[in-house]
């Protein structure tokens, strides 16, 4: 594959950029503008905004949920193919080995869970 083979792609990229840029520019320059207060307001699903987003603080507690989710999500992703393939493993005589490997994996994750629990990562408040 030579660089020249990609020339069509490059031409396409340039045309796409130019067309998009020109349309935006034209709309910006010649489009009719009549600003009203209603239009300048931030869109919040049609209702009137309650206070400015600059001053509103929100809880970041959700990140703990997100991290726990990743933990268990990964566990599921690894366990399901293992469970599906376990029968073949057993037929080949490596059943106990496959079980042991997954046991090690799950117990490492369990230590993480114990840590999270004791640190209060599962409490909402």
């Amino acid at each position: 594959m030579q660089i020249a083979d990609y020339s069509a792609l490059m031409i396409f990229l340039v045309i796409a950029l130019v067309v998009a840029g020109v349309i935006t520019l034209l709309a910006n320059q010649f489009g009719p503008k009549n600003r009203t207060r209603q239009k300048a307001m931030p869109y919040e699903a049609g209702s009137d905004p309650i206070g400015s987003p600059k001053q509103t603080r929100f809880s970041v507690k959700f990140y703990m949920i997100a991290i726990s989710f990743i933990l268990f999500d990964l566990e599921t992703i690894f366990v399901i193919p293992w469970a599906v393939a376990w029968k073949q493993n057993d037929v080949m005589g490596h059943g106990l080995y496959a079980f042991g490997v997954m046991f090690v994996f799950v117990s490492i994750l369990t230590i993480g869970l114990v840590y999270e629990w004791k640190q209060g990562g599962l409490e909402w408040d």
Binding site: M1, Q2, M92, H94, Y97, I108, I111, G112, V114, Y115, K118, Q119
Partner: protein, 565 residues
């Protein structure tokens, strides 16, 4: 991987069978480190609030000691092919680095209680992060596959990113963690991209197969199409390693991160992370990228030339910028850049031609000498402090040498070692590195190597200025404020400093044992092509002769001494 195995006629069934029992030996050092880390997690979970966590330091240090012992026990059980379907090596080279990483980790952790007591930040996470990172460094040194290299690199780095932000109430800590994480993630991404390109050309991630396939691609003249990809891949992989070892074009993060991170953690990250990255770099360069076309040096342009300029730039920049610093941690950060330059000089000399492969032992020895000196120096910085802070600037330590003789003496040993002044390890390390470069220069008639070692000597003279300035401040200046700083009561910190100093002096006065170990590590380096294996065999025979001669000279025992078995 699968593709490569089929290509080389490896039976596919082999992939589906579990590895044999003997192969698990390759896991032992890294697995022990990980187990100790998990043990510390569990123990800390059930920690009684309100009491101190010093015992975690003892548990970790004992665990790290067990890792070192396991390396010693496994020393003669090399397996001559990569185990776990081509994922890990078990050889003396890897074990050398594993023992080094574990020793440095254990020594750094022993200093933590003193530091935590000053900073009022006694939390168990510090120990866990360091221990997980040690296990990553160990796996990185044993990696036989680009995937293992990358996973181990992340296992080593991610805890260190958290460690950088450990002082969460300190704005500089947050800055350090953020910078380190963003730049580190970026460089890891670049490295992964390089690995993807290499995989694209060779169809395998196993280092040995990459070496074979790259040579084949270059030989058969498929170069036309693929060579740009190979070059880009090699450069990207190199840049990933250069970031971790803080060599010059990729050093920008170092001073800020080292200044913002907790002192014992810096001692850890400037030694273990660097050692792990150097080990993996040696593996990748000498196993996968060993083709003369990629090696360069005398045949054209290759990684030897890239490292040559990185080495020169690191030495010059590190040593000159360090002179102007007021903060000791910042000064040590620049000095660690300079040390990376010296180590690269050794790699350049050893990589110049296949027959100089054994000069890598200077690299291993230098890393060992650098490790103990640096962990110790940061240990002294965490050993002196007061409520809420530890010493950092030259002003802070003014006059402390006489007030706290132990700390002053220790700092003296570590600074002399870093500056490379005779009875210490740093001198012997520098001597062997420079000698390797000069030898290569003389043997090949290539003056660039001699020029580079002259530059190295000159820059290390410049380095003596700022290392000795620490001692001048400690001994020849009046304290700026009375009772501002006190020495820690912690016995473990004192033990750690003592061990570091003893090792630094021992490596300087009696370097033979460590030299022999590093020579054995290089001779036993697995996976190299046949031309280098020949060199290794000769080196092994030489080593045997030296040992026999030493044995013979010991036999007519002096009076009053019992001859050793």
């Amino acid at each position: 991987m699968l593709h490569a195995l089929m290509q080389t006629g490896f039976p596919l069934l082999g992939l589906l069978t579990p590895p044999s029992g003997a192969e698990y030996a390759a896991l032992i050092p890294g697995a022990i480190a990980a187990l100790v880390a998990m043990l510390v997690v569990l123990v800390d979970t059930f920690h009684r609030p309100g009491t101190r966590r010093d015992y975690l330091a003892y548990i970790s240090a004992v665990g790290m000691g067990v890792v070192v012992l396991s390396c010693w026990a496994l020393w003669d059980s090399t397996i001559d092919r990569p185990v776990f379907h081509g994922m890990l090596y078990l050889d003396k080279f890897g074990l050398f680095f594993a023992a080094l990483a574990a020793a440095a980790g254990g020594l750094a952790l022993l200093q933590v209680p003193a530091y935590m007591n000053f900073q009022r930040m006694d939390r168990g996470e510090f120990y866990m992060l360091v221990l997980f990172s040690v296990s990553g460094a160990i796996f990185m040194a044993n990696a036989a596959d680009l995937l293992t290299v990358f996973i181990a690199l992340e296992l080593m780095s991610i805890p260190v990113y958290c460690l950088a932000g450990y002082m969460r109430r300190d704005g500089r800590g947050a800055e350090a963690a953020m910078k380190y994480f963003v730049l580190g993630a970026f460089s890891a991404g670049l490295m992964l991209y390089g690995m993807a390109l290499i995989y694209g050309v060779t169809g395998t991630t196993n280092l040995e197969y990459i070496g074979i396939n790259l040579s084949r691609v270059i030989e058969t003249g498929a170069v036309e199409t693929g060579f740009g990809m190979i070059v880009l891949g090699v450069l990207l992989v190199l840049s990933g390693f250069a970031f971790k070892i803080a060599a010059v074009p990729f050093h920008i993060w170092t001073p800020d991160v080292y200044t913002g991170s907790p002192s014992p953690g810096v001692g850890f990250m400037s030694t273990v992370v660097k050692a792990g990255a150097f080990a993996a770099m040696l593996r990748v360069l000498f196993v996968a990228f060993e083709d003369p076309m990629l090696r360069g040096g005398f045949y054209g342009t290759g990684w030897v030339d890239v490292l040559f300029f990185m080495s020169a730039a690191s030495m010059v920049l590190g040593n000159t910028v360090a002179i102007m610093q007021d903060n000791i941690k910042r000064m040590l950060a620049y000095s660690s850049i300079a040390h990376a330059g010296y180590i690269l000089l050794g790699i350049v000399a050893a990589g110049a031609r296949p027959e100089y492969f054994l000069f890598n032992d200077a690299v291993l020895f230098y890393l060992a000498s650098y490790t103990f000196g640096t962990v110790g120096a940061f240990g002294v910085l965490s050993y002196l402090g007061r409520k809420g802070t530890t010493v950092e600037t030259y002003e802070d330590i003014a006059g402390l040498g006489l007030k706290y003789p132990f700390a002053g003496l220790m700092m003296g040993v570590f600074m002399f070692s870093s500056a490379g002044i005779p009875p210490t390890a740093g001198f012997v390390g520098k001597l062997y590195i420079f000698r390797a470069a000069v030898d290569v220069g003389v043997q090949t008639g290539e003056f660039a190597f001699i020029g580079l070692s002259v530059l190295a000597v000159l820059t290390s003279v410049a380095g003596a200025y700022y290392y000795l300035r620490v001692l001048v401040c400690m001994y020849m200046k009046e304290p700026t404020r009375d009772d501002w700083v006190e020495a820690s009561e912690s016995k473990s910190a004192r033990l750690s400093l003592g061990i570091c100093a003893a090792l630094t002096l021992a490596l300087g006065i009696l370097p033979a044992t460590m030299l022999e170990l590093s020579r054995e590590g290089v001779v036993d380096f697995q996976g190299v092509p046949a031309s280098v294996r020949e060199v290794q065999r000769e080196g092994g025979e030489q080593l045997k002769q030296i040992r026999d001669a030493a044995e013979r000279s010991r036999e007519p025992a002096p009076k009053g001494e019992v001859p050793q078995g």
